[in-house]
C-alpha cells in the first residue's frame, strides 16, 4: 500500500538533507563545497536542533570526510557524506578504498566541474572521474529523484548481495539550488523502509563473522593484499557490481510499493518509432524531453533515453530502451581529454557494438562549467542527428555544443 506523503518545496540539496535526516544515519562527516553546502548546513541544523541522533563530524577536508565515513561504516555505522567537484577529487584515493573494503556508505554529489580553472558550476566531470572506483552511481533529474534516491540508496548499499557504497549524483545549481515540489514520506515510513543496517557475512581466522569492527568478533580490515589475492578480490567487487543489477531492481520494487513511484534504470521516452534519439544523464534530460515533444509536434520522430543508473551500467535495459533507433546522439556534460570520446559515448558505443543492427552514434559534449544548454541547442543536436540519418554516415563523431570558436 502506498504510504502517506506530503508535498513540500525543496531544492536538491535540501531534499538530500531532508531524506538523510529521516534516515538518521549514525555518522555524517562532511566538508563544505559549493554547490553542496546547503546539505551540510541543513544537516548541522538538524543536529543542533536535536532532530537526529547522528554524530556530525565537521572534518577538516573531504579526504578526512570519506576516511571518517570508512571508519564509521567499518565500525558498523550508517555513514553519510556529501561533496562536489574538487572535494570528490580530493577523496579519490579513499573512493577506491571505501569500495574495495566494501563499505556501504552513501554520498551525495552535487555535480560540479573540476578545476582548473576553478568554476563552481555544473557538469559531470567529477562523477565521471569516479566511475571506475567501485561505487554505485545514480543520477537524478530533479529534486524528487534526489529525495527518492537518498532514501533508497541505503537499501541498495546495504543489500546482502551488494554491500557497496552508493553515490547519489544531481546537478549543481540546476538541481541543488532549484526549489521544486517534492513528495516526501513520513519519518516512520522512511525508518521502516531502511530498517536496521545489515552486515555482510565474511570469514576471519576464527570462522564466519559479520563484517564489522567488533571487539567480540575481531577481524582485520584493510590488509596488505599482494599479487596472489588482490586480483581475486577485485573480481569479487566486479562480480558483486554486476550482481547488483538484479538486487537494485528488487529494492526499486519495494520503493514503488510505498511511494507509488516506479523507478527504472533507464527511461525511454517516445522511443517506439523514434528515428533520431538522444541518451543522457541528469537534469538536462528534462529539457531534452520538452524538445522531443516540440519536435514530435513538428512531425520529427524524435525520442530520448534518460539513464538513472550509470554504475552498474544497465547494459540490457539500455539496449532495450534504444531499440531499433537508427541514429543516436549522446549528450553529456563530461569529457575525456585525448580519449576517442567522452565517457558515456564510449560506454554506449561499447554496449551497442555487438548488436546485429547498430545505430550511428555521435557524441555531443555540452554544458561544461555550467554553460547553458538551451532548447535551441538541443534542437541543433537533433538536426545534426537527422543529417547523419540522411547522409548515412557520421562525419563528426564528437562535437561541442554551444561553444564559441
Amino acid at each position: 500500500m502506498v504510504a502517506k506523503q506530503k508535498i513540500v518545496g525543496l531544492n536538491g540539496d535540501e531534499a538530500s538533507a531532508y531524506a538523510t535526516k529521516q534516515v538518521d544515519p549514525d555518522v555524517v562527516a562532511a566538508y563544505p563545497i559549493t554547490p553542496q553546502t546547503i546539505i551540510v548546513e541543513r544537516f548541522s541544523e538538524y543536529v543542533a536542533d536535536g532532530l537526529v541522533g547522528s554524530e556530525f563530524v565537521a572534518v577538516e577536508s573531504e579526504h578526512s570526510a570519506l576516511s571518517a565515513c570508512v571508519g564509521a561504516s567499518a565500525a558498523g555505522a550508517r555513514a553519510f557524506t556529501a561533496t562536489a567537484a574538487n572535494g570528490l577529487a580530493l577523496m579519490w584515493e579513499i573512493l577506491y578504498i571505501a569500495a574495495g573494503l566494501r563499505q556501504p556508505i552513501v554520498m551525495a554529489v552535487a555535480n560540479r566541474c573540476l578545476g582548473g580553472p576553478i568554476n563552481i558550476h555544473n557538469d559531470h566531470s567529477d562523477a565521471m572521474g569516479a566511475r571506475d572506483s567501485g561505487w554505485i552511481q545514480l543520477f537524478c533529474e530533479n529534486s524528487q529523484e534526489v529525495y527518492d534516491a537518498s532514501v533508497e540508496a541505503w537499501r541498495i548499499a546495504e543489500h546482502a548481495d551488494i554491500q557497496m557504497p552508493v553515490m547519489v549524483n544531481f546537478d549543481g545549481f540546476t538541481i541543488s539550488h532549484t526549489m521544486e515540489n517534492v513528495y516526501i514520506l513520513e519519518d516512520a515510513d522512511v525508518k521502516k523502509f531502511v530498517g536496521k543496517r545489515i552486515y555482510m557475512k565474511t570469514e576471519g581466522p576464527k570462522g564466519e563473522v559479520e563484517f564489522k569492527l567488533d571487539p567480540d568478533t575481531p577481524i582485520s580490515i584493510g590488509p596488505l593484499d599482494l599479487q596472489d589475492f588482490y586480483f581475486e578480490h577485485k573480481v569479487q567487487q566486479m562480480e558483486a557490481m554486476k550482481g547488483s543489477l538484479k538486487a537494485i531492481k528488487a529494492v526499486d520494487k519495494e520503493f514503488e510499493k510505498i511511494t507509488g513511484r516506479k523507478l527504472e534504470y533507464v527511461y525511454p521516452y517516445k522511443m517506439d518509432d523514434a528515428e533520431v534519439a538522444v541518451v543522457g544523464l541528469g537534469s538536462a534530460m528534462g529539457t531534452v524531453r520538452e524538445v522531443v515533444d516540440e519536435l514530435r509536434a513538428e512531425g520529427v520522430k524524435a525520442g530520448m533515453v534518460k539513464m538513472r543508473l550509470f554504475r552498474p551500467f544497465p547494459v540490457e535495459d539500455l539496449k532495450n530502451a534504444i531499440g531499433n533507433v537508427p541514429v543516436l546522439g549522446v549528450m553529456e556534460k563530461a569529457y575525456s581529454i585525448g580519449g576517442p570520446g567522452a565517457p558515456l559515448y564510449e560506454e554506449v558505443k561499447t554496449v551497442l557494438y555487438d548488436l546485429p543492427k547498430r545505430p550511428f552514434v555521435a557524441d555531443y559534449i555540452n554544458g561544461l562549467g555550467g554553460k547553458d544548454t538551451s532548447p535551441e541547442m538541443i534542437r541543433d543536436v537533433f538536426k545534426s542527428l537527422q543529417r547523419i540519418k540522411e547522409r548515412g554516415a557520421v562525419l563528426e563523431p564528437v562535437s561541442y555544443v554551444g561553444v564559441r570558436e
Partner: protein
C-alpha cells in the same frame, strides 16, 4: 581491569601476536605490544600505512587479535574519528553493535611519515574536534617502509636515502619538527613521550592516555636497525641511550585550566637532578650507521658540538617547562 605491574602485564595475552614479518629486532612491535598490554577493555585499533601495517596484515594472515583496520597512509586519525563518532552515536542511540560495550577505546598507530608529514592535517583536525582516542606515533625518524627516505621527523645530520651523506651535504640539513609541542599547542589533554626501554613507564602512560577523555598522544622513539644501521640486538639499548643523552627525554604533559603542565618521567628526572649522569650525544650517535659521517673519515668536531648544543638547549627548555 588489571593493575599495571610487570607481573600482571606479563600474564596478559598479546593483542599483536606472533608470525608478523617485520625485520628481526624491530622496535615497532615492541611499542605495540607494550602499549596494547595497557588496554582496559574492548579496543579497536587503526594503523596508518607503514612497516607495522604491511607486516602484520599480509593477506590471508593477520597478527591482530583485536578489531584492527588500515585505510591509507595519511588518514589514520580521520579513520579513528569516524570510529569514535560511531561509538558515541551508538551509545547515544542505545543501538548498534557497539552500544553494548560500556567503553570502547580507539588506538591509532602511525609512523613519523604518517604523523609529521602526510598525516598531520588529519591528526590536527581530529585533535581539534576532540575525538576520544589515543594516537601512538611510532617514530623511527624516516619512511622505513618505502626504503628509509627522510621525513619531517628525521633529525639533523641523519643520512637517509633522500638526505644522503654526500661529499658536500652531510645528511639532513633541516631539524626535526617539534611534534610534541605542536600537539601540546592544540590543547591536547594528555601528551607523553615513551621509550620501550622502560616498559612499565610505557604501559602506565598508555593506560593514562586511554583513560583520559579526549584525544591523547604518545610519542615513541622507535630505533630501526635497518634504517639507522645498527645490529638488531641493539634496538632497545639505542633507544635507552636516546633518553640517557637527552636526545629523547621522557615526559608527560597534561592540561590544567588551559595551561600545559609538564612533568619529567623518572629516567629523565634522574638526569635533571644529577646532570653529571647525562651522557654525551656521541654515545648515541656513534652506534648508528646513519651518523657514520660524523665520525668518519674524520671526526666532525664542529658538527658534533653544534648538535650537542642544540640538544642541550632543548633539554634545558624542557627542564624549565617542567620546573626542574
Amino acid at each position: 581491569m588489571s593493575e599495571i605491574t610487570l607481573k600482571e602485564m606479563s600474564r596478559k595475552p598479546d593483542a599483536l601476536i606472533c608470525g608478523g614479518r617485520l625485520c628481526a629486532g624491530c622496535d615497532e612491535t615492541i611499542v605495540v605490544r607494550q602499549v596494547m598490554k595497557a588496554t582496559r577493555g574492548p579496543t579497536i585499533v587503526t594503523s596508518a600505512t607503514g612497516c607495522l601495517e604491511v607486516s602484520t596484515s599480509i593477506f590471508p594472515y593477520t597478527s591482530w587479535e583485536v578489531p584492527w583496520m588500515h585505510c591509507a597512509f595519511e588518514n589514520v586519525a580521520a579513520l579513528a574519528s569516524g570510529i569514535e563518532a560511531t561509538i558515541k552515536a551508538m551509545h547515544k542511540k542505545k543501538e548498534g553493535p557497539l552500544a553494548k560495550y560500556p567503553t570502547v577505546d580507539v588506538i591509532s598507530f602511525a609512523g613519523d611519515g604518517g604523523t609529521y608529514d602526510i598525516g598531520l592535517q588529519a591528526l590536527s583536525g581530529a585533535i581539534e574536534r576532540g575525538h576520544d582516542f589515543t594516537y601512538v606515533l611510532i617514530d623511527n625518524e624516516a619512511y622505513m617502509n618505502t626504503g628509509i627516505q627522510r621525513s619531517g621527523g628525521t633529525p639533523f645530520g641523519a643520512s637517509t636515502t633522500t638526505s644522503p651523506a654526500g661529499k658536500v651535504i652531510l645528511g639532513k640539513t633541516e631539524t626535526k619538527k617539534p611534534i610534541d609541542e605542536i600537539i601540546i599547542a592544540h590543547g591536547t589533554p594528555y601528551v607523553a613521550t615513551i621509550n620501550t626501554a622502560w616498559p612499565l613507564d610505557v604501559m602506565k602512560k598508555a593506560r593514562k592516555a586511554i583513560e583520559v577523555d579526549g584525544p591523547t598522544f604518545l610519542h615513541s622513539l622507535a630505533p630501526c636497525s635497518r634504517g639507522w644501521r645498527f645490529p638488531p640486538e641493539k634496538t632497545v639499548e639505542i633507544g635507552r641511550l636516546a633518553t640517557q643523552t637527552c636526545v629523547f627525554p621522557l615526559f608527560e604533559c597534561r592540561q590544567e585550566k588551559g595551561k600545559p603542565v609538564y612533568e619529567l618521567s623518572a629516567p629523565s628526572l634522574a638526569i635533571a637532578k644529577r646532570p653529571e649522569n647525562k651522557k654525551p650525544i656521541e654515545a648515541y650517535l656513534e652506534q648508528q650507521g646513519r651518523y657514520r659521517h660524523f665520525f668518519r673519515p674524520a671526526r666532525k668536531e664542529a658538527l658534533l658540538k653544534e648538535l650537542q648544543e642544540s640538544i642541550d638547549t632543548r633539554w634545558q627548555i624542557l627542564c624549565e617547562k617542567a620546573g626542574v
